[in-house]
């Protein structure tokens, strides 16, 4: 489903973000990316979403070479991905429900259908009762769960989460991870970056990065 073939990313002669990375993630797998800050975890996730292009090597998603993807094809790739960021990137000028509806509206879904599915997604992350609230009125953990609802509302094949628990307390982090595991359990492929040892210890598969290099894989 996701395949990295000798991928390197270099921003400048001294700025190597990734160096000769190769791995494969099968459909329905839950994989954690571990490593200290600056290890290249975010760059790796961005490459899968075509936010960055490899300097060399190939990134394949469902057999499609992301590096060779034309600009017009990028939105269609991203509609099959659920992206979750450390800073939730919710739009504070609209309600929680409107935020979750956005991925559906950009694909041309009717507003009523989009609202119905957005409410269902909010229900899955336990925030249906906060649908009409403004994002700033929610706690950090709740905001992250809203961003998860936004990521899964389009029923993506893959969820990419970049440090989704970094700014959360233990209880909130636990709820976020539980929500991600719930989606994995219904067949969604998940790639989650984290440096939370407690979460990583319980993971089935962990890819360790350090200074842009693949150090080891733990299973």
């Amino acid at each position: 489903m996701i395949e990295f073939q000798h991928v390197s990313k270099q921003y400048s002669p001294d700025g190597v973000a990734l160096r000769d990375i190769s791995f494969t993630i099968a459909k329905g797998e839950l994989v954690y990316l571990a490593g200290p800050s600056g290890a290249g975890k975010s760059t790796l996730l961005k490459m899968i979403a075509a936010m960055e292009r490899p300097t060399s090597g190939k990134v394949l998603v469902n057999g499609q070479d992301i590096g060779a993807l034309k600009r017009a094809g990028i939105p269609f790739l991203r509609r099959n991905l659920g992206l979750i960021f450390q800073e939730q990137r919710l739009l504070n000028d609209r309600t929680v429900l409107a935020n979750v509806m956005m991925p559906l509206l950009v694909t041309g879904s009717p507003r009523s259908a989009a609202e119905q599915r957005a409410r269902a997604a909010l229900d899955k992350v336990g925030l249906l009762d906060r649908a009409d609230a403004q994002p700033l009125a929610l706690s950090g953990g709740e905001q992250q769960r809203v961003s998860i609802a936004r990521a899964i509302v389009n029923r993506p094949q893959i969820i990419l989460a970049d440090e989704p628990t970094a700014n959360l307390d233990r209880a909130s982090a636990s709820k976020v991870i539980d929500a991600l595991h719930a989606f994995h359990s219904v067949g969604v492929t998940c790639l989650i970056s984290s440096h939370d040892e407690q979460i990583l210890d319980a993971a089935a598969r962990v890819i360790h990065l350090e200074r842009g290099e693949l150090m080891k894989e733990a299973a």
């Binding site: 979403a49 017009a72 939105p75 991203r78 739009l91 950009v106 009717p110 389009n154």
Partner: protein
């Protein structure tokens, strides 16, 4: 409802939502664009009112053909057939020197002065009323007819009475060109104002644009609301400018009425007809759209 229509309705809705969020700024921009549009719109209205006048005046241009003083009467009256051959459709009226003197005495009240001359100084003449011209632009034909008449034996001179019509037509031509240049300059101003308005909106909505891109919005989905905003700005400004011109016609018409009365005329400036009004509104919206297109190409394509 088709997806295409839904996308456009969504874009229009988004544009209106953003206008509602900052109505003061949008209204100010409408005012600036309307001021830029008002001047050429006023020019168009004036030209539209004056053009029928110049066309009407050019319908029957006249030539006065003066016969040499020593030409015998028979030869003078015989010239009618030669004039007819040059201008077959014209109305040709012979005025004898005696009749011309009578008219001069009757019209000008100079009978005492004329009496002191002793003899009639006026020549026999023809008035040739041409009726083949459709508008002032065809006025150049009259020169060739006058030249042919001048070459006839016994003709002293030919006076083109409609020369002023040609001058008016030429003046209108210059005015039209000046208006075109003014309109082009002010259209650039309109595009620049819309460009800047959209640029500020892109900056304000930067986060929304970036998030939209990340959740799979296509470029056209992101660009469309800005196109609608630009077109809406142009359309509203066009409406305000046309309204302003219509209001300005009221005091202008009062002043014109006083002036026209001196010439026994009822001339009044009328607002543009609905077709022309719709055309100018469409043009205003198009200018807004062009400004938005240029801005989106310049600024949005950089956001990725």
């Amino acid at each position: 409802m088709s997806t295409w229509l839904r996308h456009h309705l969504f874009a229009l809705g988004s544009a209106l939502v953003h206008v509602r969020r900052a109505p003061g700024s949008f209204l100010f921009n409408i005012l600036v664009v309307a001021i830029a549009l008002a001047l050429p719109f006023m020019g168009v209205t004036l030209l539209d009112n004056v053009r029928p006048m110049s066309e009407q005046m050019a319908v029957e241009p006249e030539l006065s053909v003066f016969i040499k003083a020593d030409t015998p009467r028979e030869q003078a009256t015989g010239l009618a057939s030669s004039l007819r051959s040059i201008a077959p459709t014209a109305k040709i009226i012979f005025t004898s020197r005696e009749k011309a003197l009578e008219q001069l005495n009757a019209k000008s009240g100079l009978s005492d002065v004329v009496a002191t001359l002793g003899e009639n100084p006026l020549p026999d003449s023809y008035v040739v009323k041409l009726n083949a011209f459709q508008n002032a632009a065809e006025g150049s034909k009259i020169d060739s007819i006058a030249d042919q008449m001048r070459a006839l034996p016994g003709v002293e001179s030919v006076q083109v009475d409609s020369a002023w019509v040609k001058r008016l037509a030429a003046l209108l031509g210059i005015l039209r060109l000046a208006l075109l240049l003014l309109a082009a300059t002010l259209a650039t101003v309109v595009v620049a104002v819309v460009f800047n308005t959209i640029r500020l909106q892109v900056m304000t909505q930067r986060e929304e644009i970036l998030v939209s891109k990340l959740i799979g919005a296509s470029d056209s989905f992101i660009h469309r609301p800005f196109y609608y905003t630009g077109a809406l700005l142009g359309l509203c400004a066009g409406g305000v400018a046309l309204g302003g011109v219509a209001l300005a016609l009221q005091p202008l018409n009062r002043a014109i009425a006083d002036f026209a009365r001196l010439y026994a005329s009822e001339f009044q400036l009328a607002p543009l007809d609905p077709m022309a009004t719709a055309g100018l509104l469409a043009l205003s919206a198009s200018l807004g759209l062009v400004g938005a297109l240029l801005c989106v190409q310049r600024h949005l394509s950089r956001l990725n």
